[in-house]
């Protein structure tokens, strides 16, 4: 029972965070500086999730940007494909294929 209450409170609080500006406080009430900063949430969060997942070996191991970390080369290849093709499936296809081939070779 105690654990259920803890999870319920964590869930209600998380829902409150997600509701905050979407449904509870209108975004026009935010300071102008905060609203202009929100344009940068998307590039910031994407980069902040991508980079650690690439530069730590296996996505969570030791920091490694040398040739021993297959993810660095695979990510660079997928970045080039993303740039040229604008296709998510081409990006992920090349990236996964590159990773698997490099892991198999290594």
């Amino acid at each position: 029972m105690r654990l259920w209450i803890i999870i319920a409170l964590a869930g209600i609080g998380t829902y409150g965070i997600r509701l905050s500006v979407l449904a509870l406080v209108h975004h026009s009430r935010l300071p102008v500086a905060a609203r202009s900063a929100l344009r940068f949430v998307m590039p910031a969060v994407l980069a902040a999730i991508i980079l650690p997942a690439v530069v730590y070996a296996g996505g969570s191991g030791d920091f490694d940007i040398g040739p021993g970390n297959e993810r660095v080369l695979a990510a660079l290849a997928s970045g080039a494909v993303a740039w040229a093709s604008k296709s998510v499936w081409a990006t992920i296809g090349v990236g996964m294929a590159a990773l698997w081939v490099l892991q198999w070779l290594g």
Partner: protein
């Protein structure tokens, strides 16, 4: 075709476009959900609670942290506050999407807020940046309910069967790869580039900071870098659609 038919068709096509946009991310989400389910049961959580947490909290990283803290018999208040800290970045997603959803009925906003995650935010904001349309919220709903459904099913597989996908398949790499494709589309102008560079570096430095504080700090620092770069470069480097 009547107007009503056209409207329903537009909603349906937005919904399925949202599902398709989420599909590559599901490659990584499915094994992650299974890993969560298997981990929660192994850590001693009752199966019902392990499963329910995926619907009640619905946030992968925060669920892993909660399981670890429960297993370590940490006080309940600390567990709740830690989960909220890990999920604090969702407030930024909520604020970032709000201008696009403020015309919707309340039930829509309360539904979409419940379904808001990293993956849903990334695909939904990319959709809104391409332009708004009358039924764009159906894209948001499609992309987030696809993730929600996958997360619940994957949790159940993990809880009742175990983690079925070996780590050596590296399917977790599907998430950064999909985000690379979305990021390349979002990097318009030097302020956005500055935001991404600063956020990426700080997230790397802070990767082992506790409870997602590295990620949260990185996003906030990236936003600050974007603002500073924008101010320094002036309005002639105007890069993106507002807001």
């Amino acid at each position: 075709m009547s107007t009503l038919d056209a409207s329903a068709q537009s909603a349906r096509s937005e919904f399925f476009a949202g599902v398709r946009a989420q599909a590559p991310l599901l490659l990584g989400v499915a094994p992650f959900g299974m890993a969560y389910g298997a981990y929660a049961v192994k850590a001693g959580l009752p199966t019902g609670l392990a499963q329910a947490m995926s619907a009640i909290v619905f946030g992968g990283a925060s669920q892993f942290v909660a399981v670890r803290l429960i297993a370590n018999e940490v006080p309940g208040a600390v567990i709740v506050l830690t989960v909220l800290l890990v999920n604090a970045r969702h407030m930024l997603y909520s604020a970032s999407l709000a201008p696009y959803t403020d015309h919707l009925a309340r039930r829509w906003r309360w539904l979409l807020a419940y379904l808001l995650t990293d993956e849903a935010y990334a695909t939904a904001i990319a959709r809104y940046r391409r332009g708004t349309a009358a039924h764009a919220h159906w894209f948001f709903f499609g992309t987030s309910i696809a993730l929600w459904t996958t997360w619940q099913v994957a949790t159940a597989v993990g809880v009742f069967v175990g983690a079925a996908v070996p780590d050596s398949w590296s399917l977790d790499f599907a998430l950064p790869l999909t985000f690379i494709a979305l990021l390349v589309g979002a990097l318009k102008g030097r302020p956005a580039l500055a935001a991404a560079a600063v956020a990426g570096v700080i997230a790397t430095v802070g990767f082992r900071w506790p409870y997602g504080t590295g990620l949260l700090t990185a996003i906030l620092a990236g936003m600050a870098a974007g603002i500073i770069a924008h101010a320094a470069l002036g309005a002639d480097d105007e890069e993106m659609l507002a807001p």
